[in-house]
């Protein structure tokens, strides 16, 4: 074997690696089966970016989801992380068990508004109360995408379905609810706001309690909710041709970029306007009651407020409350999980 000493050769211009030496490919998932232009795909991309840039080892992440288009998306990012696509509306409990079994991993949950807010609101509420350490992303499109567009409990009052059905029930404000219930990192973003969403996910990774991110994520196929002003332009112009729901036009991703403290309007694929207001940099994220009031007020004005609304780094997480050992419970050795013979003897003594 040649042992010629060499100076460090200039590394060949390979793909960019992160601090743990992985390339972005190592964070990719399978090919998406969601509709082209679906907001969920953009969110998957931001997750990949944030995880890659933060140098999180994919094997140290577990992905959790319920059922829905959104809940499928863990199949489309980070193939090197274990993933559990569970049942509809009950992912929070699965996540709770998984985190308790291995508190050393980063739990990343992806769910939909139907999955978490309609059928799943019960488990959602109790998860928030517990402050389980995990990142919980709700890909919020106001409809059940996977079952072809019925309203979810986050649909705006007055939204209209293709079938003409109008939503006459008030939407649930996930963020206000999460803060009310005790979540310790609560924010809202938009699938098209690459920078904000990316930064929010990055910030989430190091938080020690429940991170709840409500990400507005348009369903390009079924979202013809009449928003503030306009109707679904594309459909309007071609409505006669769109003879069946089975046709899914191909959409480009929507994206926005705007400054904190300002409001911007985004044209959705349906031609409606989404009014986003980004919080000021100097907003006080530790004022629980204040943040809720802000959310209520802005909802009253018809604005979708984005940003991180509330952060509490002091409140103990659920695993801290349970005072469990630092190692994963799931792989503790028998020496630690089966008490010795003397313990059984002692108990038996007490029973005679």
């Amino acid at each position: 074997m040649a042992t010629t000493p060499t100076s460090n050769p200039p590394s060949p211009p390979g793909p960019k690696t992160n601090r743990i030496g992985l390339t972005v490919i190592d964070y990719k998932g399978g090919k998406t089966t969601l509709c082209a232009g679906c907001g969920h795909n953009a969110i998957s991309e931001r997750i990949v970016d944030a995880m890659f840039d933060m140098g999180v080892q994919p094997e140290r992440v577990m992905k959790l989801s319920g059922i829905g288009c959104s809940s499928k998306s863990p199949a489309y990012f980070m193939n090197r992380s274990h993933s559990f696509n569970s049942v509809h509306g009950r992912m929070p409990s699965v996540a709770t068990g998984a985190v308790l079994a291995n508190r050393t991993l980063t739990a990343l949950a992806v769910s939909g508004d139907g999955d978490s807010v309609s059928i799943g609101i019960g488990q959602f509420v109790h998860l928030m109360r517990r402050n389980l350490p995990m990142i919980y992303i709700i890909e919020n499109n106001g409809v059940y995408g996977l079952t072809k567009g019925q309203f979810s409990a986050t649909a705006d009052l007055g939204s209209k379905l293709k079938t003409g059905v109008i939503n006459d029930l008030p939407p649930i404000d996930i963020c206000a609810l999460a803060i009310e219930l005790g979540a310790t990192f609560v924010g809202r973003s938009f699938s098209g706001d690459k920078k904000q969403l990316y930064n929010m996910i990055k910030a989430s990774i190091s938080h020690k309690g429940t991170v709840l991110l409500d990400v507005i994520s348009p369903c390009v196929t079924f979202n013809d909710h009449e928003g503030s002003t306009k109707s679904y332009k594309y459909v309007k112009e071609h409505e006669e041709v769109l003879n069946e729901v089975g046709f899914v036009p191909f959409f480009e991703d929507i994206s926005v970029d705007y400054d904190p403290g300002t409001t911007t309007s985004v044209s959705m694929h349906d031609g409606s306007q989404l009014r986003l207001r980004k919080l000021e940099h100097e907003y006080d994220t530790t004022d629980r009651v204040g943040s809720m009031k802000l959310l209520h007020d802005s909802a009253g004005r018809g604005e979708v407020l984005t940003g991180v609304f509330y952060v509490d780094t002091q409140k103990p997480s659920f695993v801290e409350l349970l005072n469990i050992v630092d190692e994963p419970l799931g792989t503790l050795p028998q020496e630690l999980t089966r008490p010795g013979r003397e313990v059984l003897d002692k108990i038996m003594q007490g029973l005679t």
């Binding site: 094997e59 577990m62 009950r90 409990s93 068990g97 308790l100 109790h126 008490p339 108990i347």
Partner: protein, 612 residues
């Protein structure tokens, strides 16, 4: 309300009495929330410590205070510990039920009762012992507020005296009970003595029932099934426990929390377990499966309504192949039913829980000993099969006190099934989660966090191929389902086999399981002694059935399947699997009124079916 399922008796002449020693049942009729439990426990334990086999059964209402409750203690030198239909010795403390309680006694029974009830007017064929409880209690308990409670200990003294029990033994049990509460001890002891003395001074024993010291319980313990399961779970190395309170399963987890806090905390004071009171049973089972997926030994305990709520998740567990132990302490359904009464009514539902083609193994402990051992077996099974496994106990076993040989420390180490770690993966290079490598239907799994780039796989309730990839292909789906059937066949070889008592000569077989066991044993003796019918006996201990079960059935002309439900659920499960020729041999004995099954009911039913 009837204290038992014996019809109200007609008057009959009192038959000539002779001594009946260590073979009778005592019933204390009271109201719940009145604090009679300690008193009944002292009675039970005193007889037990005098060396006589006993069993205690608490028949309580579904509320917190003020409704009729009956506690029955059976002492049996024959070792019979099933419920006995007939009550021999009644302690009537509850005005509301006293009349009916007395009316349903057999002729010749004895009745201790609260004097103002004037029970002696009801029948002439019983022995009556009126006791002025209020007067006596006033003397020993100055604090009026405590009298209702202390009153109970007075009947302990009265009964102990009438049954000629060993007072020193009784005193020892009281001392044990109140070891750390000196004031309570004094008060209760005084009450017992007062009762004893009253009986000695004012009552003349004319009934035949007596306790005499024996040596039949030496070395034995007393424990309830729920605590035994808790203990088994702890020694099984459970790490994640979730629950939602429900009678009669709550004490499984409450007791488990006690044990874990005591014996499963590291020297640094950290817990090697997590217990979560979930928001409901859907969440409880979701947590169990999430934890099992991520490597924990996880469990939950519930009863019928909880099982119903778990259906969807259990189907996921079956199909996504996730380990988890579900303890079902069965109570009377359907629906809320009789939440404080016992039943074996969830068998069929559990066996096929979840929509679509599903099949789940379950274990059926018949004793507190098996509660302990089977709890441990259930965890090994769940991980070896990578599937939910049920432990089907019932209220009778779970909430009543049973005597037992002391439990033995597990001989085998924990078996965590087929899990690949990073090192093994490194050797293998890759793995296919659902590939049937060993031909037993069970694939190899990896745990989240396994430090290898090929470790991860995608767990889902939707169709998938061997590599855990999404698939809607008909062939993938069918192959996967067939593998799951193979796995169930493999389970058949892993579950505990039946316990068989066969002389090999009898043409009649009996099959029972769970808490029917003790009534079955007694009934076999009755059949043999009273009707000269010898029976072979197979006690089922698990589903799926092992080959021995099929063999046993085909060896007998007639096989009675005894169970505590209306629809003959175990019979149905057997019929699903048996050949027609063997099905022809099956007969059914069912008991489903919420009371624990008794030997006489079985015997009568078999005799009538035998046409005798």
């Amino acid at each position: 309300m009837a204290t038992s399922d014996v019809a109200v008796q007609n008057l009959a002449d009192r038959s000539d009495q002779k001594k009946i020693v260590n073979d009778f049942s005592i019933q204390v009729a009271t109201v719940n929330g009145s604090g009679s439990q300690s008193a009944n426990n002292v009675l039970l334990r005193s007889i037990f410590r005098m060396g006589i086999p006993v069993s205690g059964k608490n028949l309580f209402p579904s509320n917190i205070a003020g409704l009729p409750t009956w506690y029955t203690i059976r002492a049996s030198k024959h070792g019979y510990i099933a419920r006995k239909k007939e009550i021999d010795f009644l302690v009537a403390m509850n005005a509301e039920t006293a009349r009916e309680d007395a009316l349903s006694l057999s002729s010749g029974a004895a009745v201790v009762y609260d004097q103002p009830l004037n029970l002696e007017a009801v029948r002439q064929d019983l022995t009556f012992y009126p006791v002025p409880f209020d007067k006596i209690v006033a003397q020993v308990c100055p604090d009026a507020k405590l009298r209702k409670l202390v009153k109970n200990m007075i009947y302990v003294g009265v009964v102990a005296q009438l049954l000629r029990m060993d007072m020193a033994r009784v005193e020892k049990e009281v001392q044990k009970l109140f070891a750390r509460k000196p004031r309570a001890l004094d008060l209760n002891m005084a009450a017992i003595h007062a009762g004893w003395e009253y009986a000695q001074a004012s009552l003349t024993k004319t009934d035949p029932f007596m306790v005499e010291a024996s040596n039949q319980t030496t070395g034995k313990i007393i424990i309830d099934g729920n605590a035994a399961i808790a203990m088994g779970a702890m020694f099984a190395g459970v790490t994640v426990v979730t629950w939602y309170p429900i009678t009669p399963s709550s004490s499984v987890v409450e007791q488990l929390i006690d044990y874990l806090k005591r014996y499963r905390v590291t020297p640094e004071g950290k817990a090697t377990f997590a217990v979560v009171q979930a928001e409901d049973e859907l969440a409880a089972i979701g947590m169990v499966l999430g934890a099992g997926w991520a490597g924990a030994r996880s469990m939950t305990a519930t009863s019928g309504p909880g099982i119903s709520l778990m259906a969807e998740f259990i189907g996921l567990g079956y199909y996504a192949e996730l380990p988890g132990v579900i303890v079902d302490v069965q109570r009377v359904g359907p629906s809320t039913g009789l939440p404080t009464r016992t039943s074996q009514g969830d068998l069929l539902f559990v066996a096929t829980l979840g929509h679509g083609d599903t099949k789940h193994p379950f274990l059926i402990p018949a004793s507190v000993m098996e509660c302990f051992t089977m709890a441990m077996e259930a965890f090994d099974l769940a991980e070896r099969l990578q599937s939910p496994v049920f432990l089907l106990s019932d209220l009778d076993l779970g909430m009543n006190n049973w005597m037992s040989e002391p439990f033995e420390y597990p001989a085998e180490p924990i078996d965590r099934g087929k899990v690949l770690d990073a090192e093994e993966l490194h050797k293998l290079g890759s793995f296919a989660r659902y590939k049937d490598v060993d031909g037993d239907g069970v694939g190899y799994r990896t745990l989240p966090g396994t430090d290898h780039p090929a470790a991860a796989y995608f767990t889902r309730g939707t169709g998938h191929n061997e590599k855990a990839q999404y698939s809607e292909r008909p062939d993938d789906y069918q192959a996967n389902m067939q593998r799951l059937t193979r796995k169930f066949e493999y389970a058949r070889t892993l579950v505990p086999g039946p316990e068989i008592v066969a002389h090999g000569t009898s043409e009649i077989g009996v099959i029972a399981f769970g808490t029917s066991h003790f009534a079955m044993l007694e009934s076999r003796d009755q059949l043999a002694k009273e009707f000269a019918i010898e029976t072979d006996y197979l006690r089922l201990r698990a589903y799926p059935f092992t080959q021995q079960v099929f063999d046993f059935i085909s060896k007998h002309d007639r096989v009675y399947v005894v169970e505590q439900n209306r629809d003959g659920q175990m019979l149905s499960l057997l019929k699903m699997e048996l050949a027609a020729a063997d099905i022809a041999r099956l007969r059914s004995v069912r008991h489903f009124n919420g009371l624990p099954i008794d030997a006489r009911s079985i015997t009568d039913d078999i005799i009538s079916q035998e046409g005798k």
